[in-house]
């Protein structure tokens, strides 16, 4: 991974145009995008990715760790939020209580005003009902004050105590006023009202105002607390969320690249291997499953390289062996060609002298010598056939046999074959029939070689037939000429039908001794037929006879033959 880093930023098209690396080259991953490439190469993130890749722990553990860390962070966010919410609740409750106390305090003020109002009415009307109303308002005042005292924070208690004392004093004055009214001492009552009660009420009013002020201050403090708590909670949640997002991005980047890099390296590696570039290795910093995978791939690459080299060496050896064999084959063909010439020259003399003798050129041949002389001729010709067959076969095998195509009349060719074999067939007392379909066209091919094929097949048929008939037939089938040689001879066992066209194969050695022959005729026939682009086949029943057929094009296509 570090190797390719300097190029990583302009990675986009590089993979396509990059020349194939040499075998044995080590390469890492390629192809992060522009931003990722920058982050991987120019920031410590690259080192972090390698560090994470190099951790000797499983992929599962790495992923689990990252997820758990982020989950922990989210739990932290939740806990902090809960704490802030509960603190806000506390402040709001205090605010509510303070609000309630302000409300009660206002009720006190109201009750106080009513007391003064009813006191004034009592002075005017001078009856007990007005006095009773003063006492009722006084009771309401005391109830409300008791509620405030119960809910009040400690610093307000002294103030409330003062209010209560002043109220008690005021009630004592009200009692005096009520008595003075009952006794008809209106002036005393007025004096008590203005000189004693009024200042007391003013004192109480002042104290109540102080309580209201204190509560309002407290309320302001609570409000400020709520605002501050809201602010704090926003900051805390924002900070946690930011950290969580950053961590998620970081883990995502680091862990995914610690996986992507080896996968990319493996991808490139496999591409090279697929291109036949064996022996390349893949380098990753990973020590997890990907690292194990890379190690296995490297081992595979080394094995492939070794196998490839072995295979190449074997192929080279085979090529050179093949070359030597081809050379040997050419030498063999040349040897056979020159041997054939050397053999024919004395054979020409042997057959020539024999013929001159049989033609009585050296005087009348005694009857007793005629048969051995004919035997010499027969065997000499057989030797000549052998030499010809061996030469033909070696030329065919060396790929040097060429056809000499020309136009030929099929019936003329059949007549040549018939004339050559007629005496042989009649000597054995066989029916020898040659039939040609009347519509046979002028054909184009190597007529001499095809005649040689028919001579081989019909010669064999005569050789292997003791009684009955041998028939040669020719017919046209579309663009093909079909030649057929059938006999009523010994036949060929089914399991040996495939072998009859192989060289030096006669059905068994006994037959070979009994019937003679080179064992090359069928093989040569098959090859001549194939040189014409045709095919040959045989059908046979043991004891009933055989039919050899071959088909060749009526007109040999150009490009075949000489």
């Amino acid at each position: 991974m570090p190797q390719q880093c300097p190029n990583a930023a302009d990675e986009g098209d590089r993979r396509v145009t990059q020349p194939p690396p040499n075998p044995g080259q080590t390469f890492g991953a390629a192809g992060p995008g522009r931003l990722d490439g920058f982050l991987l190469t120019r920031t410590p993130l690259g080192r972090l990715v390698r560090w994470v890749a190099g951790l000797q722990t499983s992929v599962r553990s790495k992923l689990l760790f990252a997820f758990l860390l982020i989950v922990l962070l989210l739990i932290g966010v939740g806990a902090t939020s809960l704490q802030i919410l509960s603190s806000m609740g506390r402040h709001l409750r205090g605010l509510d209580e303070a609000h309630e106390r302000v409300h009660w305090t206002q009720q006190i003020e109201h009750a106080l005003a009513l007391q003064m109002h009813y006191t004034a009415i009592a002075l005017v009307r001078r009856d007990e009902a007005a006095v009773a109303q003063i006492l009722r308002e006084n009771n309401r005042f005391n109830d409300t004050l008791a509620r405030i005292a119960a809910a009040a924070p400690p610093d307000e208690r002294a103030l409330i105590q003062q209010i209560r004392v002043s109220q008690d004093d005021a009630m004592a004055v009200v009692a005096d006023i009520a008595n003075s009214i009952r006794e008809g001492k209106i002036d005393d009552a007025l004096h008590a009202l203005t000189a004693r009660e009024d200042p007391l009420y003013r004192t109480i009013e002042g104290l109540v105002r102080q309580v209201v002020h204190a509560e309002e201050t407290r309320m302001a403090t609570f409000r400020a607390g709520v605002t501050a708590a809201t602010h704090r909670s926003l900051i805390a949640i924002g900070a946690f969320a930011t950290v969580a997002i950053l961590l998620a991005l970081l883990f995502g980047f680091v862990i995914s690249w610690s996986f992507i890099l080896p996968v990319q390296a493996a991808h490139e590696f496999l591409g090279q291997v697929a291109a036949g570039n064996f022996g390349v290795t893949v380098a990753t910093a990973n020590r997890d499953e990907f690292g194990a995978l890379a190690e296995n791939m490297n081992r595979m690459s080394r094995d492939l390289k070794r196998l490839d080299e072995e295979q190449r060496a074997a192929a080279a050896e085979l090529r050179s062996l093949n070359e030597r064999l081809a050379q040997a084959s050419r030498a063999k063909t040349e040897f056979l060609a020159s041997m054939s010439h050397e053999l024919r020259t004395p054979l020409n003399a042997i057959l020539g002298f024999g013929e001159l003798m049989l033609d009585n050129l050296y005087g009348e041949v005694p009857e007793s010598l005629r048969e051995p002389l004919l035997d010499i001729q027969t065997n000499g010709r057989h030797l000549l056939r052998l030499i010809n067959d061996v030469l033909d076969l070696s030329k065919i095998e060396a790929g040097r046999m060429e056809l000499a195509p020309s136009e030929y009349v099929v019936s003329d060719m059949l007549e040549t074959v018939r004339a050559s074999l007629r005496s042989l067939a009649s000597e054995k007392g066989l029916d020898f029939v040659v039939t040609a379909a009347p519509d046979l066209p002028l054909a184009y091919g190597d007529g001499k070689r095809l005649a040689q094929c028919l001579l081989n097949l019909a010669g064999n048929a005569i050789k292997f037939t003791k009684e009955g008939r041998v028939e040669i037939a020719a017919e046209r089938r579309g663009a093909l000429l079909v030649y057929r040689v059938s006999d009523t001879g010994i036949g060929i066992p089914e399991d040996q039908l495939d072998d009859v066209f192989a060289e030096f194969r006669q059905v068994n050695a006994t037959i070979s001794r009994e019937y003679g022959g080179t064992g090359l005729g069928l093989s040569i026939t098959k090859k001549f037929v194939e040189l014409h682009g045709g095919r040959i086949w045989v059908e046979s029943t043991v004891g009933k006879g055989s039919t050899f057929s071959f088909e060749v094009p009526v007109r040999l296509p150009d490009g075949r033959g000489a």
Binding site: R344, T345, G352, F353, E355, L403, A404, A562
Partner: protein
């Protein structure tokens, strides 16, 4: 009519002997040469009526000798029978291209050879 002359160019003594004995019973007169160079020289010297030319000859092979005789105005019209022991396909074509009148594969039947000579140059 004067006897017709046959030139046989052949390096093998036995083959020459066969032709010598074959023609011995006819009116043909036989002239022999044992290699290509000698064959060409003898042909120009004696201007035979027909030439039998073996292909495999020392010094100058039969096909080259045939070509040379065809270029020589004196011998250009003489019938030449090329005799080869190669019997490879294409040999006949090569012989005809070199200027042969006829082609005979070895081993030949002396009877067929005589028939061919009689066909090309009837006995005098």
């Amino acid at each position: 009519m004067s006897p017709k002359t046959v030139l046989y160019v052949e390096d093998n003594a036995f083959n020459r002997k066969i032709v010598r004995q074959l023609l011995g019973s006819t009116t043909y007169r036989l002239v022999e040469a044992i290699d290509g160079e000698q064959g060409v020289a003898t042909a120009i010297d004696t201007l035979p009526d027909i030439i039998l030319m073996d292909v495999q000859l020392p010094n100058l092979d039969g096909l080259d000798a045939t070509r040379r005789l065809r270029q020589e105005p004196l011998t250009a019209g003489i019938p030449i029978v090329v005799v080869t022991s190669f019997a490879l396909s294409g040999d006949e074509q090569k012989a005809m291209e070199a200027g042969a009148t006829a082609y005979l594969a070895k081993p030949y039947s002396p009877r067929d050879l005589l028939a061919l000579i009689r066909k090309l140059v009837p006995e005098g």
